[in-house]
Symmetry: C2
Subunit: 121 residues, 2 copies
């Protein structure tokens, strides 16, 4: 297993990995995505786990599965942008909620984030 967080299902992390590559332009609309077997052997996970991730992506309209051929990123760029924004939104809401519950004020949260972003430069 490579690069996966243990407290989150691997199939979810795979789906997010594909989405992230797509929104960053590493995969272009219509591009072929590695097959389940390729991806599995590259990341050292079970093919079944990859299949589940790809099925989720297909359900969300981000990937088109062509039996016998492989998996392709959708050409529907709106879908991609929507998925990107939704994931960002979800991440932000959770983060802001958690920090609020830890008793930090709006200003403190902004300050902490700025420091963090600076460090990550």
């Amino acid at each position: 297993m490579t690069d996966f967080d243990t407290n989150k299902p691997i199939y979810q992390q795979i789906a997010e990995d594909i989405l992230k590559k797509a929104v960053r332009g590493e995969i272009l609309p219509g591009d072929r995505i590695p097959s389940a077997r390729e991806y599995a052997s590259q990341k050292l996970v079970n093919p079944n786990t990859v299949v589940r991730a790809f099925q989720d992506l297909e359900r969300e309209g981000l990937v088109v599965v062509k039996r016998g051929l492989g998996n392709y990123l959708t050409t529907d760029t709106t879908r991609l942008e929507d998925a990107r924004f939704q994931l960002a939104q979800k991440t932000l809401i959770q983060c802001a909620k958690d920090l609020r519950e830890l008793g930090y004020t709006t200003k403190q949260i902004q300050q902490l984030l700025s420091q963090q972003l600076e460090v990550m430069k």
Copy 2:
């Protein structure tokens, strides 16, 4: 089951719940924490799950367990502040990392978070 996120172990969420109440001042250093049985029946979870959360908190030095009596918040306020900051740090790092991977710039991330905090006012 009440108020628990399905994609995170309940015992972790319980431990975080106690920590959050502590750093917000809803529980004071040295205060008694509900017993495992009380907490379990109040939150509609299994006592064993609560026990595990309390054991984790004890391992982190946030809670002192007194057999036959109950569980007490530590009087070591430094430990509490450390735990608070560590959890905040972890949350922020994950958030910033996720948004970076979604292709957002530093400025965009700060802007998005500010908007989110504004909405949550």
